[in-house]
Point group: D2
Chain length 346, copies 4
């Protein structure tokens, strides 16, 4: 088994992370690397950390360039993926790292993104109940958003077990690579270093409906709608998301031990999710570059809330690593093949 | 009017910030600078940013060294301030930058700090209803904690106006100077740069009861206890706190305009609190070094929550600046004298 | 004495720093704030750290808008200042924070910038021998580049005293605000955080001829040309320059004490330059926001070189602070009026 | 071929990096992990990024614990390695990541470190002429210091080819992990973030004689002593070294093309050294976590100097990666086995 992959959007951060992981994946052969404006230039000019690919020339992103590969990764702005995917072979495994095929509800798509809904694809968060079955053998994968990966993994076991009322509050701190490589003044180093600021406050971020969709799908409180307050914060670091998810305890008597058992049950068999020992907390640095999630659970008895913290690398488990995890599943490989779980510390 | 001040704990971060502000305060003359282990060394060895004081020798922190000053700032570990303050003149204005005199409830003190409760002093958060009256003419001031300053200013107008149910969730992202200058491995630059991690999760941080105390004192819902879930996050920046406070809306119909009016009413006359124009968000960098608070209000109609964001500098408005603001009040000066509202950007 | 100032380029980093300092200068009244693309928007949208000016509307940069002020600060791209200055009153004090009037040699201008040479103005580095005389009463000031400020102050006393051969090597680490606010991919936070890289290596940076000009003007070795190897490095910090200047000792027997005496003689009377105590080193953090320079001198007997280190804030002493220092001189004020020497630490 | 390794000093930064790389090395089995004060605690408490080893208990560093392994990595303070190594089997491959066996000259050892000289071991910088021969089959390896790795690789081709006079000036900017994990106030995050400062200025750093030794060994100018002025700068980043090495051109006529040819000849066949395309510069971020070196060469004709820049990760190519490279050689494996050349970007 050996897959030949193409990467559209190869000059950006997500494309670069797909290629970084591809170089370490024993079953991958790297085929076409394509982009828009960067087409024609050497990959090394855009991805200086990948010396093995430095001399590759970036091709233009067209259906023709992407044809003839086993797997095609699309790391493109929303709207663009759906259009392109429609022109790719049904036999190829197409992996959309963008938003086009994540939402199942056309009305939600219309509200949050606008334009025509391209339809949902199997959702690439294998840890979510039922997700693996949908991914196995699939030829289309919708890679989750980075915040939804962190937020969903922090909250879903509690929601599914009915530990909490489905009124979830998530505040998530993200490294600035999550905003991509397009140069905008507020993302300049001089602006972000030494500073923190929220954005999309009050439910304005497009990842909100995706988190709601994930949690609603597993909610134990089937008659009560799941509501999610999501606040993203831009943090002065290049990579990483730390999500703090909390919700009112469904019953006063829930103890930390009980909550821990729920999370242990959800994650003990998961190869990429690490419920930390009591007394320690997730740190984003520990999962930088790894397809790994660190999770910790706490009960605040005074406030009557469950508080769960989760750390991921937005580009690895949050995007490209999660994508390869799903690709492995789709192609019948061991889910863990080629995926690092070791972070970069310090 | 000219005050002669002494600073105990002059080699630490809070002491350094008191001195930095003192140098810009037109009514201040700097008297004794004292410390524990650093006694005998030049101040310049500990506060390299204060060339005007570089050659001052640090004296030992004793009641004798601190005697004979109009104002004595105590920047000491908790427990130590109360002990020392008891030996200082009742005529001197004693300003405790530590925790010893913040909590009014002896049982809360006992639970969170242990040992004998030294009693509460007038609380140095002038923006809080009633606080200015208590501070005017006082000879003792308890400077609030940095997180309680940010969290209280984010939440209290909504709680006081009954905009929200008193179930407040606060996640606050803090620069590492908040942890002080004592060298601990997890505070090393190599650990914190590029990383974010929560601590004291589940209600374990000692600033929680202080926030509860502040909000309970103003709560419109007098028969319902105020509950606060507080999660601090260590952020890769030297200074600054960004607090995200949210709570369920008390009534479904609350609009952002109504919420904004409540905050405008609370803050329009406040010299140091800036309710930002709609569409902009607080950034910690904008208030670095300033005795300033940036606040923004949002209503998340889907989630049924009010979400308020606030940015301060933990060492300035969060400690030393807030302290001088209260000192100005206590001594009958204009509250704004000598306090910068201009931040350091970029 | 009270000066009314105008600031052209008020939405950029240099313009913002001029305004930040202006707010703390007792003799300044802020008149017109102008810009190009940002004209028409409120200043608060660009300078969120200046609440006192948040509601000012930015006017367009035209000679008419800038007329009628005592002092006009030009914080504009090179080429643009000269053009505009030519249309301003000869009675106004015009301060060019750009490069247009720094170089005295038309051939050097032609080689490094191209186009017509606009002629040199009095050079705003008061610490340089002879500079104060030229600045007093002047109605035109050329503010030095940030690197030349750091590099010249590190090297000139040794060059002037003949301590070293005039073969100066300068490696300087700069915060990214030195590159301005225009959004470029390599200046994104995700790129610069956690990384260091040189640029303009091999003598390609336009600040090189300015340093040569400064050192040549004072060189004790009048028959030997001054040569400068200058390597700038982009550092993962928002502000600050640390310059490491070294050169071969002119005589083997030079001791650190002798070198120190030379620097003490040059700087002991300087209000903004601090020769640090032996055993300590300049740190950029200590001078952030301050019109201050920290300097240290070392002799490497094994290598036969003098090594001098200097730290400044590129925006303060390196640009806007140095500009006000020269303005004070030009207008007959005390040179130190309104200029902070206290840095922001930690 | 499969090697069982032991790591002494497993709780520190170097030990952690050895283990991180070991997990990715196909021929390595991890045996004993030992430490001093941390003995008895789980490895996960010290190396949170290595989930695969989280439950390993750290043993005490004793000859007995380290016995029975094919390779023993010593990541210990200087002085301690030599003492311990003397008690280890001569058949084991002992790899000293510390300084004890780097210097060949007992007098240099005495001057820079003091105490008895333990004798030099084969020096683990395979790129240095002659080094591979000494490493093949060896049972003892002295891993170079991180600065000497960067500085030597930047300078030696020019020195060996006689391109420059042997008067080398090196300024190197290092991430703070180079200072280790021991908590010291000046290494706190609040101190280092946003700041740069030199140390050991004037030839005081112990890595200086090591660089001199390396360059003297290859110098084309056999009758002229090699002199090195080395200035290390602490940079606000966790990992990475950027070295700027310069020296007077030996002849005026040397062109950049000629210099480039010399470096291409030295490095084209090297698997871990990448001479970058003209017009690009090494960035430390590009080599984070990689056993890779980025190098660029420039000729400054005006200054008459060659300027070479080099970037490494101090913990990877600078220590643990370089160590494995040498281990591969010593054991007869392909030199590149198990060593990542892909960096972590952004």
């Amino acid at each position: 088994m050996r897959m030949r992959i193409a990467v559209a959007g190869a000059s950006g951060y997500v494309g670069g992370e797909v290629l970084r992981l591809a170089l370490g994946h024993p079953e991958v052969e790297i085929g076409a690397v394509t982009a828009g404006e960067s087409a024609g230039s050497p990959l090394g000019a855009h991805q200086p950390h990948l010396p093995a690919l430095a001399d590759r020339t970036i091709a233009e992103t067209t259906p023709e360039q992407l044809a003839g590969h086993d797997v095609v990764f699309l790391a493109l702005p929303h709207g663009r993926s759906a259009e392109l995917a429609a022109q790719l072979s049904e036999d190829a495994l197409v992996v959309d790292c963008g938003a086009d095929h994540r939402l199942t509800d056309p009305a939600a798509w219309q509200r949050w993104y606008g334009g025509e809904h391209a339809g949902a694809w199997p959702y690439g968060l294998p840890e979510l109940p039922g997700a693996r079955d949908a991914l196995r053998g699939s030829r289309r994968i919708a890679v989750p958003g980075c915040y939804p990966t962190a937020g969903t993994l922090a909250a879903f076991p509690a929601v599914a077990a009915g530990l909490v009322e489905p009124e979830i509050s998530i505040v998530a701190f993200s490294g600035t690579s999550g905003a991509g490589k397009a140069a905008k003044p507020h993302l300049l180093g001089a602006e972000v270093m030494g500073s923190a600021g929220a954005y999309g406050v009050g439910g304005g971020h497009r990842h909100t409906p995706e988190i709601v969709q994930n949690l609603a799908a597993v909610s134990a409180a089937s008659t009560v709608p799941v509501r999610v307050s999501f606040t993203p914060v831009l943090a002065p670091m290049p990579r990483g998301i730390l999500a703090v998810a909390s919700a009112p305890l469904a019953a006063h008597a829930v103890t930390e031990e009980q909550a821990r058992e729920v999370y242990a049950k959800a994650y003990d068999a998961e190869p990429f999710v690490h419920l930390l020992p009591a007394g320690t907390q997730p740190q984003t640095k520990s999962v930088v570059g790894a397809n790994a999630v660190q999770v910790q659970v706490a009960v605040d008895a005074d406030a009557g809330r469950l508080v769960v913290t989760a750390a991921i690398d937005n580009l690895t488990k949050g995007t490209a690593g999660g994508a390869f995890q799903s690709v492995n599943l789709a192609l019948g490989l061991d889910e863990t093949v080629g995926l690092p779980t070791t972070g970069m510390h310090p």
